[in-house]
């Protein structure tokens, strides 16, 4: 960004504004982040690693990774398909579909969890049927995966739709006239054009999937060592006054956030230089 003589403010105003912005960042973003690490290490490294090696903690990490490992690829697939259909084709109900993609963002996570309990819980619509075949969804891994997938559904699609919209279908149409089939067009033309946006969307989706609390909390049942994800485990520890252990586990989530931000800025660095003209 270049400075312009005309639009720039006086030195005092600039210093004031920058100080204000810096202050807000420090107070609301950096301070809490530092607090997490300081609290986690208050009783020393010994306690810190003990908390992470705890069986319940390991199981929570495993469950969180499993839920993300299923829901993120699923949402990547659906997100790409949704963005593709919405941006490359015009059809009836297209606007409705775009609004529906946003639904999980609009709904409170608690409601998003309750809906699944209402559907699949023991007193829910399909509860009896599921019991008959001894299938467990609520208070089990499938419920957690479904809730996570629901909440994180919009990330990939939301990232891709504006990108693909702005790129238009010219390149795909050119590929069509050159004799390429749908599959080849997708892999050789569409994917290379959206790869950074796609990676970004997956990254955000993953961060949210691992950090999701509300919806998962409703469907999980909080069975220690079984259906507690990492965020739920942190809450349980906190409620049991094991502050150091709670913060130790929270550092994992904080690290996830930092890594996500790091990759995100790396992506922006790579793509920031590409111009946006017509090719």
């Amino acid at each position: 960004m270049s400075h312009s003589e005309v639009t720039t403010e006086s030195r005092a105003v600039r210093v004031l504004l920058i100080a204000a912005a810096g202050g807000v960042v420090a107070l609301f973003l950096l301070l809490p982040l530092m607090a997490v690490f300081i609290e986690a290490l208050r009783k020393g490294w010994e306690v810190f690693f003990e908390a992470l090696r705890d069986e319940a903690a390991l199981s929570a990490v495993k469950l969180t990774l499993t839920a993300a490992a299923i829901s993120v690829p699923m949402n990547t697939l659906f997100g790409v398909a949704a963005a593709w259909s919405v941006t490359k084709f015009r059809f009836k109900g297209r606007a409705l579909l775009i609004s529906l993609i946003d639904l999980p963002f609009a709904v409170s996570p608690v409601i998003a969890g309750l809906v699944w309990v209402l559907l699949f819980g023991s007193h829910g619509w399909f509860g009896e049927w599921l019991q008959k075949y001894d299938l467990k969804i609520i208070f089990a891994l499938p419920g957690i995966v479904i809730a996570t997938a629901f909440v994180t559904f919009p990330f990939v699609a939301r990232e891709l739709i504006p990108l693909m919209e702005s790129q238009g279908s010219d390149q795909e149409e050119a590929a069509v006239t050159l004799g390429a089939g749908g599959w080849k067009i997708f892999w050789r033309v569409t994917v290379p054009n959206i790869k950074w946006g796609l990676l970004y969307g997956i990254l955000l989706c993953n961060a949210r999937a691992m950090g999701e609390f509300g919806a998962v909390s409703v469907v999980s049942g909080h069975i220690r060592g079984e259906t507690n994800t990492l965020p739920l485990h942190v809450e349980v520890l906190y409620n049991e006054y094991q502050f150091s252990a709670a913060f130790a586990c929270a550092t994992l989530l904080a690290l996830l956030a930092l890594v996500t931000l790091g990759i995100k800025s790396a992506i922006e660095h790579f793509t920031g230089h590409s111009s946006n003209g017509h090719y």
Binding site: L178, V189, H278, Y279
Partner: protein, 328 residues
């Protein structure tokens, strides 16, 4: 290969984009689809390419007599060039041009060596030798459009379709590329259909001009014939400057600015001429244009040569006699 279009209709929802359009594009010709935006010319081109489907009905599109309506775009063997190039931005120039060959099923695909030779041959055909490893964003607009052309030609198309090929270029590049394309067409002799909204471009470049308006074809013919004998007022006005004059008898006449003779007022001939007063003079170009007001109050645009302007020594406010061409 000739293209023959028979009663094609196309509607988008309730909007009629094409209404009963029929057209013959002779083998080896360079035909321009000319019209204002919204006239349906691009839709027609896209239907010929197979990128858009005509409304179901008796409409047919024949390539050398063969109906291609049910053949998908990828199998029609058309070379299509887009207004904004539509180059694959992540590929090199060479990979862009080779694309149509590398996506062929394995048993039809030429060897790597053959593809490389074909790319080199096409690059030299479009005068871009040595740029094979560049990326599209490293090229100028005119170069990009020539890469797009080479890419379209790589599949040895039966017809070449160009959608506003010069629309995104600067005026000078536009003119150069236009002349180059004319020579290029004469060299390779491929039946070519191109869309433009620029009448000058259509008249200069094409063997046959198709004027379109409101989803229909208004007139078809060689450029000079269309320019000299427009069939409708719309074609008259669309193909360049024209004066719309109402005669004392109340008849509307169309007269092009250069068809009007300018004389000294002393040479006024009551039978054929009109008296007028010079309102405005513009002479910063190869021809001088005058804006005059006739004695009945109508404004008329006139074009005369610079030399004639000097001879007449006209200035604003002078009276002149206008000799109108004898109505045909």
């Amino acid at each position: 290969m000739s293209i023959s279009i028979h009663s094609i209709h196309k509607t988008f929802g309730t909007y009629k984009a094409l209404e009963d359009v029929s057209l013959d594009v002779p083998n080896g010709s360079l035909t321009a689809l000319l019209g204002p935006s919204g006239s349906g010319k691009t839709t027609l081109l896209r239907i010929v390419a197979g990128l858009e489907f005509a409304d179901p009905g008796p409409g047919r599109i024949l390539f050398h007599g063969e109906n291609v309506v049910d053949i998908p775009a990828g199998k029609r063997q058309v070379g299509f060039v887009f207004q904004h190039y539509a180059l694959f931005r992540h590929m090199t120039v060479a990979d862009n041009i080779a694309f149509g060959l590398t996506v062929l099923p394995r048993h039809q695909r030429p060897s790597r060596k053959e593809i490389g030779d074909r790319v080199a041959e096409l690059l030299s055909l479009v005068k871009l030798d040595g740029l094979d490893q560049r990326r599209p964003h490293e090229l100028s607009g005119g170069q990009r459009q020539r890469v797009a052309l080479a890419r379209a030609l790589a599949i040895r198309p039966k017809v070449l379709l160009l959608d506003e090929p010069f629309g995104a270029l600067d005026a000078q590049v536009r003119k150069d590329l236009r002349r180059w394309l004319r020579l290029f067409h004469d060299e390779i002799g491929l039946t070519t259909l191109f869309v433009t909204h620029d009448q000058e471009e259509a008249l200069e470049l094409a063997d046959q001009v198709v004027v379109m308006r409101n989803a229909r074809i208004e007139q078809v013919g060689p450029p000079q014939k269309i320019y000299d004998h427009p069939r409708t007022p719309f074609v008259y006005e669309f193909l360049g400057n024209v004066n719309k004059l109402v005669t004392p008898a109340g008849v509307t006449r169309y007269v092009r600015p250069h068809e009007i003779e300018v004389k000294f007022a002393a040479e006024f001939d009551l039978q054929t001429d009109r008296l007028a007063e010079v309102q405005h003079l513009f002479s910063a170009g190869p021809v001088a244009s005058l804006s005059v007001r006739a004695d009945d109050g109508q404004f008329i645009e006139v074009e005369i040569s610079r030399k004639q302007l000097e001879e007449l020594a006209l200035s604003v406010g002078d009276k002149v006699a206008l000799g109108l061409p004898v109505s045909s």
